[in-house]
Symmetry: C2
Subunit: 251 residues, 2 copies
DNA sequence: CGATTCATTGATACACTTCAACAGACGTGG
DNA sequence: CCACGTCTGTTGAAGTGTATCAATGAATCG
C-alpha cells in the first residue's frame, strides 16, 4: 500500500492497460473485458493544489482513483477545528460506493489527476464483478489498519513523537522505490505546509514549527529550505517516534 | 477462562437462523444453504471480562462475530501507553480475512460470546459467496468511517466533548435495536471501566472521572450505580459532543 | 471480614495552545 | 525596479487543559 509511482513520462490516455496505477488501484485484478467496461464509465480530471475535490455533504456523482499527486481527506468542526483523517496517494481510492453523500472533504495538496468513474454504473459493476470487489475489500482493510495506527499517534503520542512519526512515514514512502541504506541516511521533500502537518497530527502549526526546529537543533534531522529534510541517523529518528524497533507502520 | 462449549450448551444454538445477531452480522445476507455451510465451520467460545481473546502478533486461526458482550481492539506502546482503536459490540466482526497475524489486541471488557469460524474455510467461502463478501465490505467501510470519526475526536476534541461523544455512541448503539423516543430520553449500561474509557478517548482515567461527574453536575446526564447512565435531554448531550446537529455517527 | 478492584477528589506540574509580533519568499502592478 | 500585499514559517510570553502524584472512598467477593 502507498508506494509512490515513478513520474509519468507518458500522457495518460484512455487505455486502462497503459495506466501507471492500474496494477495497484481498485481495478488491479480486473481482466481485459472488465477494464474495457470501466473505460466506458471513466474520465480524467485535473485539480490544482488547494482545490477542493469533494466537500463533505456533496452528492457523490463519482468515485475514482488518484492517478498522480497527493490529496487529503479531512473533517472540519463547526468552529473551524480540522483533522485530517487520510492521505490519498496515487492508486488510492476516492469515495465510497453505496453512499450517496460524502462524509469528508477531499482537498488536493499538490496538483492531482483523478480517474473518475460515474458512481451508479460503478456500483452496478461492483455487484457483478468479483475481482473488483475483492480488490476493493483489500484496499479498505489496508486503510482501516492505517487509520488505527494513526489513532495511536493521535491519542497517545507526544508532539515530538508525532512529528518524528510523520517524517518517518513520509520519508520511508518517498524512498521506498530506491531503497536507501539505513546508515547513509535519507533525504526527502516534505510536501505539506506546517498547517497541513498540524491538521494531520492534531497539533497547532506553532507546535509543529517548534518541534521540527527542536529535532533540528538536537541533530536528529537537518533542513534545507524549510521543506527539504535530511535524515542522517535513521535509527535516531526511529527512536524518536516512540514505536518499537520494527516501526509498525506498513508502507 | 476460555471455555469452548459445544454449540448446544447455551441458549445460543447451532442454528444460525435463531441467532440474535444474524440480521446484522457478516452473515446477514446469506441464504439458508450458505448459513448451513457456515454452521459446518463454526463454534462458540465464551470469555470472561478481562480475558485476552487475541494478542497482537498471534497467528489467527479463526475469525468471527461478537454474539453478546463487548470487546475492545487496542494497541500498546513499549512504555505501557495504550490506545483503543475499536469497540466490538454484538454483531461486529473480529479478525481480518487474508491476514495471518493479528495486528491488534482483542480483549473482552465484559463477558463475551464469540461465534468463531475457522479462518481458512471462511476465507475460501468468502471467495465464492458474493453475499458474504458484500456484507463484509459494507461492514469494513462502516468501521473505516467510524475510525475516521474517532480520529477527529482524538485529534481535536476536548475531554468533555470526548466523554459526551462516547456516551452518545454507546447509548445510540445500545438503543438501536429497540428505538427510543429522542424526547423521552434514553438509559443504558456503560460497560466500560473508567480506565477503558480513558484508553479509548486518549485521556487518563482521572480526567474521565472528573468529566463524567462534571456532566452529571451540569445536569446533562444522570448516574445510577456509576455505570448506568440516564440521558433525559438527548439534544443537550448532542450539543456537548461538538458535532453538528445531525450527529455524524453512523450506527 | 480483609482484600481487591474501581472510582472520586485534591494539589501541583507541565505540555501544548493561544495570542502576538516579526521575518523571509514570492508575485503583482504601478 | 521598488512598494505592496500575501502566504508561510519562526519565535516569544502568557494562559490553560490535562496529566501526574497521592490519598481516600465505595463496591464486590471469597
Amino acid at each position: 500500500m502507498n508506494i509512490d509511482i515513478p513520474a509519468l513520462n507518458t500522457k495518460i490516455g484512455d487505455k486502462c492497460a497503459d495506466c501507471p496505477i492500474h496494477h495497484r488501484a481498485v481495478c488491479a485484478y480486473c481482466e481485459k473485458s472488465e477494464l474495457m467496461m470501466l473505460e466506458t464509465m471513466k474520465s480524467y480530471s485535473n485539480y490544482a493544489a488547494g482545490d477542493t475535490i469533494i466537500m463533505a455533504g456533496d452528492n457523490m456523482k463519482f468515485v475514482g482513483s488518484v492517478v498522480t499527486g497527493v490529496a487529503s481527506l479531512s473533517q472540519t468542526m463547526e468552529d473551524g477545528r480540522r483533522q485530517m483523517v487520510g492521505l490519498l496517494l496515487p492508486s488510492d481510492f476516492v469515495g465510497r460506493p453505496g453512499r450517496e453523500y460524502a462524509s469528508f472533504d477531499v482537498v488536493a495538496t499538490t496538483p492531482v489527476t483523478l480517474c473518475k468513474f460515474e458512481r451508479k454504473p460503478f456500483e452496478k459493476m461492483l455487484e457483478s464483478t468479483p475481482q473488483l470487489r475483492e480488490r476493493m475489500l483489500e484496499m479498505v482493510l489496508d486503510e482501516l489498519d492505517a487509520a488505527r495506527e494513526w489513532m495511536l499517534l493521535l491519542g497517545r503520542k507526544t508532539a515530538r513523537e508525532k512529528i518524528a512519526s510523520l517524517l518517518m512515514i513520509i520519508g520511508k514512502r518517498q524512498n521506498s522505490l530506491s531503497p536507501f541504506d539505513m546508515n547513509s541516511g535519507m533525504k526527502f521533500e516534505l510536501s505539506l505546509t506546517r498547517e497541513a502537518m498540524a491538521d494531520y497530527l492534531g497539533l497547532t502549526l506553532e507546535t509543529v514549527s517548534r518541534q521540527i526546529n527542536a529535532l533540528k537543533k538536537d541533530g536528529v534531522i537537518e533542513l534545507e529550505k524549510k521543506r527539504h529534510v535530511i535524515v542522517k541517523d535513521f535509527t535516531r529518528l526511529l527512536d524518536e517516534t516512540g514505536d518499537d524497533a520494527d516501526g509498525g507502520y506498513v508502507i
